[in-house]
């Protein structure tokens, strides 16, 4: 592999790094001959899909690989002229947090819930710089100020649960930069954040890089983030770096087929401007049905409140309005995209629509109001309305064969006898692009995308008219995501399904929807056809949401 070389000495230099995983079947290589340099003041993005070895690379640099399962087999990691791979644990401790600091993906779980923000900030400063408590606290305050946290003094005595996700990630960044590291390793630092918060954090990282002079390794799956942030990019696949180069060159003249596929699969906001409805994916199918006169789903003044009043002897929970006065209609063959950030009430709306949580207002499925129906009365209605969940790993029983999982709804509703069931399962599997012999296998034998296909087959088993898809592709890699979305579009065209498509991802919503509703704080702010909402957004929040989406084109970079 041709190495990227520059005149200045790299801060961090990795050569031929190989990492093995210990499995019951023996050793398996998970990183193969990874080599790259990180130059002073540079942002290097390591991009790739899940399982490509991005995180293993960063944990190797920190020497934080879980000893029981992963081990560096060969290669060198040099920080300046110091070799890290054979450093003692004690010596490595001064590197961690001192010379190389790390920011992780999950701000919600990456801070210790029982230790105050102040202590979590100062302990690293005291560890590495030997400063006494008062001075360390002063530095901590400066850092909180540098990451633009409001009321920094008050934050020192607060605990993580009192801070929002975005603020926690700011604290993580403050913590990482507090000892003025040479290298900042950020592993998917914005993946768990809302898009508007992501934009703020990315801006902050660019700003702090200049201020603190750290070099950054930014690990991400999001090519939009890469285009926004990177000076140089390394693309990883199956434990190898298959291509690296300057950002412009890589985006405009990708050499490898995989890089080209990856870039092609990236959804681009605005890609469907000027057209009505989602693209047709099955030319052989009959043209879209004329919308049925009566809608499949009508929602009127839906309200959901969480919490319970305190009753004598029992503690109450404070009551919170999760969804307020939501109304919409959905016709067969159509998709309503429900978009919003976390806490906007979009998932709660999806659950209420299927009668999975208590609500007030009216929800009419196929003309029947489901408000106040008992489990028994709901059962026939559940046949017509099904759900596809976010996490294809958690929503399939690991001990149930795929065929049995798909047949289960048929059994519950007493729809098919044993022989018919097997035929039905085989047909459903073919329908979602899997082989019928998948029926006898178990979920762990399938990839994330295949599992989501299985979940779709399960949802289709009862021939529903309405499917609520809650972040159904959020857990999937971009290339897999595109194929699952195509499958959903094709099923809609051929079966006339109505989708209530819930997502935080503007580009996915744009691709899938006929109509779009933008939610915030439990209310619909703006609703209309996709063209109305995306090409002429009326609400300020909708515009802010769209502006915050990183554009996967380095020439469109929003420079600060």
């Amino acid at each position: 592999m041709k190495l990227y070389t520059t005149a200045s000495t790299p801060v961090l230099s990795i050569r031929d790094l190989c990492v093995d995983a210990r499995t019951p079947e023996g050793r398996r290589r998970v990183l193969q001959d990874v080599s790259f340099d990180l130059n002073p003041g540079e942002t290097l993005c390591i991009a790739g899909e899940s399982g490509s070895g991005k995180s293993v690379t960063s944990l190797s640099i920190m020497q934080l690989l879980p000893k029981a399962s992963l081990q560096i087999a060969s290669g060198s990691i040099k920080l300046g002229d110091r070799e890290l791979t054979n450093l003692s644990n004690h010596a490595m401790r001064s590197v961690r947090g001192g010379d190389i600091a790390m920011v992780f993906q999950e701000p919600m779980t990456s801070l210790n819930p029982v230790i105050s923000i102040g202590t979590q900030l100062t302990e690293a400063i005291r560890e590495h710089q030997g400063t006494e408590a008062g001075k360390a606290e002063a530095i901590a305050l400066q850092m909180l100020d540098a990451v633009h946290i409001t009321e920094p003094i008050r934050r020192l005595t607060q605990y993580p649960h009192e801070l929002s996700g975005g603020m926690r990630q700011r604290v993580m960044i403050a913590m990482a930069l507090s000892c003025r590291p040479k290298v900042l390793l950020a592993d998917e630092p914005t993946t768990a954040l809302d898009v508007t918060v992501q934009a703020q954090i990315l801006k902050l990282m660019r700003e702090l890089k200049r201020e603190f002079g750290a070099s950054i390794i930014l690990i991400t799956h999001d090519m939009g983030v890469v285009a926004e942030m990177a000076d140089r990019v390394a693309i990883m696949q199956n434990g190898r770096i298959i291509e690296q180069g300057s950002t412009l060159a890589l985006f405009e003249r990708p050499k490898e087929l995989y890089t080209r596929q990856l870039l092609a699969a990236v959804p681009r906001l605005g890609a469907h401007a000027g057209t009505d409805g989602p693209p047709r994916v099955s030319p052989q199918a009959k043209p879209a049905d004329v919308p049925a006169p009566s809608p499949v789903l009508v929602v009127r003044d839906l309200n959901v409140t969480y919490g319970s009043p305190a009753r004598w002897l029992f503690k109450g929970n404070p009551s919170v309005s999760a969804v307020a006065d939501v109304s919409f209609e959905l016709r067969s063959g159509e998709t309503l995209g429900l978009v919003g950030e976390s806490g906007s009430g979009k998932s709660t709306t999806g659950k209420a629509v299927l009668g999975l949580i208590p609500f007030t207002g009216a929800v009419m499925i196929g003309g029947q109001n489901i408000a106040g129906l008992g489990a028994r009365q709901m059962q026939p209605i559940r046949r017509t309305a099904q759900m596809i969940f976010q996490d294809p790993y958690a929503s399939l029983d690991p001990r149930m064969a795929v065929g049995a999982a798909i047949a289960e709804p048929l059994i519950i509703h007493g729809l098919a006898d044993k022989g018919e069931r097997d035929d039905r399962v085989a047909e459903l599997l073919r329908r979602v692009g899997l082989l019928p012999d998948a029926a006898s296998r178990y979920p762990h034998e399938f990839s994330g995308g295949q599992r989501q296909r299985i979940c779709i087959a399960r949802a289709l088993a009862l021939e529903p008219k309405l499917i609520v898809a809650d972040e159904s592709v959020a857990a999937l890699d971009v290339s897999v995501r595109a194929r699952v979305l195509d499958l959903m579009l094709e099923l809609q065209e051929t079966m006339g399904l109505a989708y209530l498509f819930i997502s935080h991802d503007m580009a996915v919503i744009e691709r899938m929807s006929h109509n779009v509703a933008v939610m915030r704080s439990g209310r619909i702010l703006e609703m209309g056809t996709r063209r109305e909402v995306f090409e002429n957004p009326k609400d300020e929040y909708t515009r802010a949401l769209m502006a915050a989406v990183p554009i996967p084109d380095p020439r469109d970079r929003q420079l600060v």
Binding site: M62, R93, R96, E127
Partner: protein, 306 residues
């Protein structure tokens, strides 16, 4: 806060009422006749009937229960059939000894359980882990009277290091406390181990490692408080188990606490004492839960906030 305490007091009163009712009914459903036990084998039917009237045992059950409840409200737990003295005073005299034994037992189980549990979690899958898990399994499953007799045989009879039974010096408390603590230690070691393994895999422990903190600080400051949270919630239940153990251990070692009192009362069908000890034990469990509820927010700011 005031409302919380008030609610807790009402809950406690209801629990004690429930315990009183259940124990009372169960005890009177026993085939044994306390009057006959007191009168002795050779007593005439007339004597037995007199005793029965004297104790109020000829009254209908509900009347007896109502009288008993009225007594409790006035702080009167009744009079012992056998010893003819005030049950409240009898129990009060025994409580210090039992508290001493429980404190020593809890110290053994917490120190032993925490240390072994943390060691096993840190050396997960290794020989230390396996030995600890095996030992804790034995500790949890060995009946207490067997452990007690084994310890007596080794340390009192064979080695002669510690006294067989009795009360008074520090040496007297060692074997009973160890017997009580071993069961709990095995239990705690397992709980602490699994909680620690869980916590050590959390993202915030990875953050602490990435900050370059020492292993000691990571384990004791970052991991342990989080691992203890689910365990603290179990203290109340633990005290219930402990009270059961106290009866056995006090009987075996001749420890003059309320367990021994209960043991003697059971043999004599001395119902007022059995009732009294049961109520005191129930109160101890309620208090244990209260202590857990007080400690948990000290460690966890998320509970403090509510």
């Amino acid at each position: 806060m005031a409302f919380l305490i008030l609610r807790r007091l009402v809950q406690t009163a209801l629990i004690l009422l429930g315990v009183a009712a259940i124990t009372f009914l169960l005890l009177y459903a026993l085939p044994a006749d306390p009057a006959r036990m007191i009168a002795g084998r050779s007593a005439t039917a007339q004597t037995v009937a007199n005793i029965r009237r004297e104790l109020g045992l000829d009254q209908p059950l509900l009347v007896q229960f109502w009288a008993y409840l009225q007594g409790i409200v006035h702080g009167d737990l009744g009079r012992s059939y056998a010893q003819k003295t005030d049950v409240g005073a009898l129990i009060a005299a025994r409580i210090p000894a039992t508290l001493l034994l429980m404190a020593a037992g809890i110290l053994v189980e917490v120190v032993l359980g925490l240390t072994l549990g943390i060691m096993a979690a840190l050396r997960r899958g290794g020989p230390v882990d396996r030995v600890v898990m095996m030992a804790s399994f034995v500790g949890v499953s060995a009946p207490q009277f067997v452990v007690a007799l084994l310890l007596l045989y080794i340390f009192a009879v064979t080695l002669g290091w510690l006294p067989m039974s009795g009360f008074g010096t520090a040496a007297h408390v060692v074997l009973p406390a160890a017997t009580l603590g071993i069961l709990g230690a095995g239990w705690y070691a397992r709980m602490v181990r699994s909680a620690m393994i869980d916590v050590l895999n959390q993202d915030y422990v990875r953050t602490a490692r990435a900050k370059g903190l020492s292993s000691a600080r990571i384990v004791l400051r970052h991991a342990l408080p989080n691992a203890l949270l689910p365990i603290i919630a179990m203290i109340g239940i633990d005290i219930g188990q402990f009270m059961g153990g106290v009866v056995v251990v006090e009987a075996v070692y001749g420890w003059p606490g309320i367990g021994q009192l209960a043991w003697q009362a059971i043999q004599q069908v001395d119902i007022p004492i059995i009732m009294g000890v049961t109520l005191v034990s129930a109160l101890a469990i309620v208090l244990g839960n209260l202590i857990a509820d007080i400690i948990a927010p000290l460690i966890d700011p998320r509970i403090r906030a509510q």
